[in-house]
Every structure is written in C-alpha cells, then in structure tokens.
Symmetry: C2
Subunit: 390 residues, 2 copies
C-alpha cells in the first residue's frame, strides 16, 4: 500500500463507465486549495477536460482543491456537448467537496469521439467523495487505468516530505507529452512549492522523463501531468524537491515504457559528444523514433547502419567519419566504420536479447549529451492497435 | 519492352554482387555529355556514391554522360575506402565509354556498412558497356532492384518526345526523399531541357510525388533521383515537359508505394480547406506518418478519432469544431463530431477493405489543399524489417 501524503485523501470507485467494469472514477483531494502545476497535451485537438483544466489553473493562478478523473471515455472530439459534460464533472466535484468549481480539475481517458455517460460519472464522483481516505492512493491509481496491464506507482521521500505519483498509458506514448495521465501529490512546504516554483520544477523534470520517451510518436488529445502540493509537511529546498520530482517522474516514465503496447525491450538511446544539448536531443529522439531501428530492436538485429542512418536524418550537421556506436559493452563503430572484430555481431546480438540496454552514439563534435527512451516495434504492437476498438 | 529513348543506350548485367545472384550492375549512357538534374538524400550520413555524384554534377554544371549503378551493396558508412571505391566505379565507366570521369555519375543500393567488392563492380561495368543497347531499359531497371518484388517502370510521350523512368525501393520510403533510386531518360530538346530548367522541373515534380509519400518515415543514405535529357528528339515546351515528368514520377511513386514492404493498402490523404499549402502539407504528412493511423489502416478500423488526433499533432493551429472527415464516399465527421448515422461504421469499414482509398480531411479555415500517400503498418512490415539481414 502506498504510504499517506499529509493533507490529501484519495478514492477510486466503479461507476459503470468502462465496458469491462472495474474502478473508473478517481478523486484526489486536498483539504483546501493548494498550489498545483500541470503540463497538458500540445495536440491542437485537445479534449474538453484538458481545455477546462488549463483554463481553471489559469483563472485560479495555480491553485486547486482536487482533480476528478474518469477512465473508459476520453470526452474528446465531442464538441460543445462534451465541454458541457466536463463542466458538469467539475461542478459535481465542487459540490461533493463544498469547494469552488474553479478549484476543480478534470481529466478523462478512454475512447475518443463518444459522448460521456455524464450522469454515471456524476454519481461516481459523489460516491468517490464519500470513499475518500488518506490511504486511498492505490484505488485512485487503479481507477485511472485503461488498457494498462498493471498499476504504475512511485514514491519518494525528501527531507521528511513525501511524494506519491501514479501514471497510466499503454500505447500512444510520445514526447510532448507522453499520452498518459500522471498525478503527483506531495506534502512538501516552503518557497519551492509556490505555484510558480512548482511549475518550473515540473517543466524541468518533464524534459528529462516524459518528454524524452517514444513508444510510437503519436500524442493524444487528453494528456495531463499534474502536481499538487498540500504544504502539510516540512519545507524542502527547491533543488532537492526538483530532484526528487524528476527522479519520481523518470521512474514512472520507465514503468510506462515497460508496460507499453507490445514492448519487450526498453532501450536507452544515449547521444554524447554533441555540439549542443539541442543537437544531442534531436539525434537521440530521431533514433528512438525510427521504425527501422525499432523493428531491428524487435528482431535483436544489430543493424548499426540503420542506427547511424537515423542519426543522419535528425536534421543536424554531423560528420559521419567521427561517429562511434556501442551497444552496452560492445563497440560496433569507430570513425564511422564497423569495428574489425569477428565476434562483433554475435556479441551485439546477445546484448539485444536483454530486456533493457543502451545504444550509445558519440558524434565526436563536442561535449553535450542527451538521452531518449526507445522500445521495439513488434508484432504485438500491430495486433493491439490494428483493431483497438473491437 | 520499354520503347527506346533516342540518344540513350542501357544495360544490366550480373556481376556477382548480390548474394542471391541476378542482374546487379546497370548502365544508362547518352552518346555525349547531356543536361542532367538530380535530387539527392538529405540524410547527413550520405553514402559515398551520393557525395561523388553531387560533386560531379556541380563541377560539370549539370552535364552527364552516363550513370553506373550497382545493387547488393550501398557503399554507405564505408569511410575513405568507400569514397575511393566510388571513384573507381566512375573511372571504370569513363574508361569503358571513353568519357571524362566528371561526366560519370554513380549510384549504389543494398547492404550498409560493408566494403564494396569493387573489382567485381569494375568488371560488371566493363561488361555492361559492351552490352549497351537502345532497347536495354528493362535490363537496366532490373539491375537496380534489391528486395523489390517487381520491376517498376513508367513511360510517357509528350509532343513527340519520349520519357522512360524506372525506380526501386521496397522499404524505408519517406519524403525528402523516398529511399529509392530513380532514373529518367528523355529525348526532349529545347530550352526546357537546359540543366537549370531541368532542375526546376524536377524539383517541382518531386514535391508532389516522391516527397509526398511515406511508408515508414525513414530516409536512406543513398537516395537519388536523376533525369537526363539527350535532346535527340523534338523540342518540348517547359510546362508540357514539367507536367509529363510530374505525371511519370507520380506513377513511379505509386508503384513504389504499392510494392512497399508489407503494404496492403495505398491511401491518399487529402487535406483541404487549409489556410495555406504549408498547413495542408503538414497535416497530410502527419496523418500519413502516424503509426496509430497506419495500424488502423492495417486493421480496416475506421477509428476517426486517431485521424483527427494526428491532425492535431501537426504543429499547426486548427479549430476542432470545424473539422470534416470522409473516407471515400462515407462522411464520418462534420463540425468536429461524429456524423449521426447508424450505418456509418460498417460503411467506413467497407471502404477500408479497398486496396486504394482516400482519407479526406477538411480543416474549414481556407482554400489550400495538399495530398500525401500513406499505407498500412502491418505484421508483414515488422516481419520483413525485424531481421532484414538474415
């Protein structure tokens, strides 16, 4: 059971929204409006709950009392009726908690383009408010799941303060941002938990976790990552809090990746020796997104030409004759050409059988580095996605 | 048999470069240096023959006598030794034809990162020069193939002038440019066939054909599209020549797509009602590249939410409430929400069984339009690519 986070209560209830049943309405509530920071999808076809929550945080200047979440229906591409449904969810939450509607955030995940069964959701929110418990985090984390095979939770303690986070998302995981709902509660206090400071820490932590991973390069209409700070615990320095938050988000991002649709290998693409971090990031992401690299990962085929060709497609200048490539401890390329070692292929193939390994590319042009999480493009991915809705 | 193109002779011979045997050295030669224009890969890890041909065309100011091509080995990521091998190919061609080396272009395709068996290639070039024939185009078109299941040839006649083109490429097909070798010979004469005019026509024709198609979003190290004009036939107006060239390249691009790795559906993504052509192109390409759209195409699943979500990821402003979506004759979305018609799903599913159909998206913001060719992401694609080299 996830340990309590002072100042928060959580719940997850079954409201009959998911066709297959199970918990599908979650509620995470603080005792009073408290600092909150969020990152939302950059998809221009953003769902109604994203539009509502973005506007609410702006109006309240970064204060929130609670977030209500439903799974089973994304309330996306539902037009003005969907916007009204999202407002009804916020009102139901505000009423149940005796809070102001502008302090209620809303998130939804599930099928796109179908009207939300909003009466059921409203009843679920009322039920959830009665079920709120300090130790209800696991129920909340379960209620946000859709096709996920397991609940994804991470906890950290820093200077006596607690952080608890959960995430969901099985496919459609890409940067900017990973198609997922993620919620973090912390009881940390002090200047580092002002709305503005919290937003800065979140943005930094995101760049190295959720925005540096690719399952398939698509980004959903509903993504949201929310951090709320009840300030009911001890004060924590800004650097320490940011580090703990980054560490927790990296943990959740890796759990998400491991649980990704049809994922059998989680591969860290490390690009070093770059002229700038921007260049390193561009190359790492391009390699991680290449379908040919991803199918090579699926087949455990050490096709280093594809990896370097993907690097060449990143849109940044590079000198092929300076490239170096390693798979974990196996050197494959030096000076842009294959290392002359007869066991090279079989040793590289053995590395690629591992569930997790590192593709390291050195550009030989500077000192900057960046990482991007990648995975395989497998038959399971095609099977799961070719007929998702039936 | 492909009809002759005055002023050209062609050959394809077996030189023992492909492991599985067959024609693997091709030669396309004009009687004298003639105007030539080419588009090369934008991959920064460009192969040695690309670097050589690009430099040769620059030095000769757009004149070429012939192109020598080998399949079975890409001579890519082969370092300085690979550059020397490419020069040896040009020298062998020049010697066989009694031409200047700077008038010889070189292209290679096949395995990456392995030294070319250059003596064999040299012998193949000498053999090919002896086998040159006016009606040898089909042999030439066969010699450039790698994993292609069939030869890809298109012919056009415009104002009495002839164009013959061939292409190769099975996977790795993406814009900028489709990973492929493409060669076009024409006997058209007149101002429209000056090197500069030819380059302009080629660039325009490319934008609507080879650079507007995506199989998997990767771009190879070796791409090259070459047009040579012998000027041995009648003069043709610039507009007529450009149109014929564009039409021929579109034909070849569709053949390439139909023959793509694991491709069962060739889908035209048409975006209309855009504020600008740039916006229309960005949205069409984003939809065509989305792995979730591509798996939905594979499963014949009319998951319109994914298509509009992909549009939302194109990085351009759009108003979800104005979106319209049709699959051929079936209206799926009006005003950003699903059309209320009970047979909608089953009719859309029937359209998606067709080998070729159109996904039409109207952004409702202007009058510009663009198209992009897409295909399915199928199990076959994964099978073919997961262990390409074994």
């Amino acid at each position: 059971v996830t340990a309590e986070v002072r100042g928060f209560r959580f719940a997850g209830v079954a409201a009959g929204i998911k066709q297959k049943g199970g918990l599908d309405v979650g509620l995470m509530a603080a005792g009073r409006p408290c600092p909150a920071a969020a990152v939302f999808t950059r998809n221009r076809v953003a769902a109604a709950p994203v539009a509502l929550s973005r506007a609410a945080l702006r109006r309240s200047r970064g204060l929130a009392r609670a977030v209500v979440v439903n799974s089973g229906n994304a309330n996306a591409l539902t037009g003005p009726a969907g916007a009204a449904d999202a407002r009804r969810m916020a009102s139901a939450g505000a009423e149940a908690l005796a809070a102001e509607p502008r302090h209620l955030l809303v998130a939804s995940t599930g099928v796109i383009g179908v009207r939300l069964p909003v009466e059921r959701v409203e009843r679920g929110i009322a039920d959830a408010s009665r079920a709120l418990r300090p130790d209800g985090f696991d129920d909340f984390a379960t209620a946000i799941l859709t096709t996920d095979r397991a609940v994804k939770i991470a906890e950290r303690t820093v200077a006596g303060a607690r952080l608890a986070g959960c995430t969901k998302g099985a496919g459609m995981i890409a940067p900017n941002m990973a198609t997922t709902l993620t919620f973090v509660a912390t009881d940390a206090a002090g200047p580092a938990t002002s709305p503005a400071a919290l937003a800065r820490s979140l943005s930094r932590a995101c760049a190295h976790s959720f925005n540096a991973m690719t399952v398939d390069g698509d980004t959903s209409t509903n993504d949201m990552l929310l951090v709320m700070a009840s300030r009911a615990g001890p004060a924590v320095g800004a650097a320490a809090l940011a580090e703990a938050l980054g560490d927790l988000l990296d943990d959740l991002a890796r759990q998400l990746m491991r649980g990704g649709e049809g994922v059998h290998h989680v591969v860290t693409v490390e690009v070093r020796g770059a002229r700038s971090e921007r260049v390193a990031r561009a190359v790492a992401e391009r390699i991680a997104r290449s379908p040919l690299v991803k199918t090579a990962i699926a087949g455990a085929d050490p096709n280093w030409g594809r990896i370097l060709a993907a690097a060449g497609n990143a849109g940044v200048a590079l000198d092929p004759s300076r490239l170096r490539l390693d798979l974990d401890e196996v050197a494959l390329v030096r000076g842009g050409v294959a290392v002359d070692e007869p066991e090279r292929e079989s040793r590289a193939r053995a590395v690629m059988q591992r569930p997790e390994y590192t593709i390291a590319v050195d550009l030989g042009q500077g000192r900057a580095a960046a990482r991007h999480l990648a995975c395989d493009l497998s038959h399971d991915y095609v099977t799961i996605n070719a007929d998702y809705r039936t």
